[in-house]
Symmetry: C2
Subunit: 191 residues, 2 copies
DNA sequence: ATACATTGTAAGTACTTACTTGCATTTAGT
DNA sequence: ACTAAATGCAAGTAAGTACTTACAATGTAT
């Protein structure tokens, strides 16, 4: 817990904006949650919007994706796709608050929208590239790699949303069930 | 344009809350957009929350789904799934504002969350039932019908979100391209 | 034409909220 | 120990916002 004052404020703001929305998250409440005085906020960030801009800067996290995945690929369709699901879901879970916040406040903050869009976009690009190579190596049938990637990404994101209860199926799926059923179907279709 | 005063207010409120969020949509602005005086709002709905509650009532639209689909089924997997995509996308488009509004304001209004969840949920139930029957008739391979349905629904909802630019792939897909590529892949996997 | 319900107008109240200012207190580097 | 920067505290300002009240204007049905 050696957080700087600025970080304490940013984290408190993210949580509160996630709960109450941007307008609902008062500077007073943010200060209280961060355990600082309200004035301290304005001394650091100038105005309320400044907090969010700093938060967006801090969480421009997309680069995380690319490095993590590439190393773990073993060119076995089943192992790879299951790994890609697990890693992606873990990342989404970890950044859940920011992602759902972005989903809600993207009208107010254009940058948030950009950030939000990049999450599946980057994922799709990586997966597209993966499928291209798997087709070259003749490990899967010849489908359009980009089509495969979007389907795969949509299924993944849909599952994430259903977990967060933003959406829902009629049952609740654990990630293992999801992989064993939904992803397994996808894998089978490729072979 | 023979809208009642109440309807004018409700529609204006929905649009504004969609744009600015619930707290950002002031009663003054709603009145202005609806071309009524601000007091008229309070005379009809009591308070600001009352507008949204009336709007939610008005848009409890889930029942629409079930009737529309059942009649159009011809028990040909390709024709049926393409029809189901088109109908569902059309419905989502039509209710887009309310859906995206619900996505943002579901924390503030529990009922909105319920409504939002029911959209894919009902769809999944219908599709599950459809797949069950198609398996009985031996028109598709024996997969778990619920798994198929969730995958199909997630792909559909993902496409909807990417169209609304909430999410995005790296390219923009038209609905015809989406059907010809993404759905075609899904159909092929079933046969 | 009269009666009644609906809407508009004007003005105001009570409350919240982002943001400021001046000064006291604490923390940290040398 | 001394200095300077960071933070806390108390009080206040200005603007916005939901909601109210009293009354005038308009429409509508009989």
């Amino acid at each position: 817990m050696h957080m700087s004052t600025e970080d304490k404020i940013i984290e408190a703001a993210i949580e509160l904006v996630y709960e109450k929305g941007y307008k609902g998250a008062t500077t007073r409440a943010i200060a209280q949650k961060a355990n600082v005085n309200e004035v301290t906020i304005f001394r650091h960030f100038g105005n309320k919007k400044g907090i969010m801009e700093a938060a967006i800067q801090k969480y421009a996290f997309v680069d995380l994706l690319e490095n993590t995945f590439a190393e773990k690929i073993v060119w076995d369709i089943e192992k790879d796709l299951k790994m890609l699901v697990r890693e992606y879901q873990a990342l989404l879970d970890q950044k859940k608050t920011v992602i759902l916040l972005a989903l809600r406040e993207s009208n107010e903050f254009a940058e948030l929208n950009e950030m939000l869009k990049k999450v599946p976009q980057t994922y799709i690009e990586i997966i597209t590239h993966y499928f291209e190579q798997m087709i070259e190596r003749e490990k899967i049938k010849k489908f359009d790699p980009y089509t495969l990637a979007t389907n795969f990404a949509f299924i993944n994101f849909g599952f994430f949303l259903s977990k967060t209860r933003v959406l829902s199926g009629s049952e609740e799926l654990s990630i293992e069930e999801f992989i064993d059923k939904n992803i397994a179907f996808f894998i089978q279709a490729l072979q």
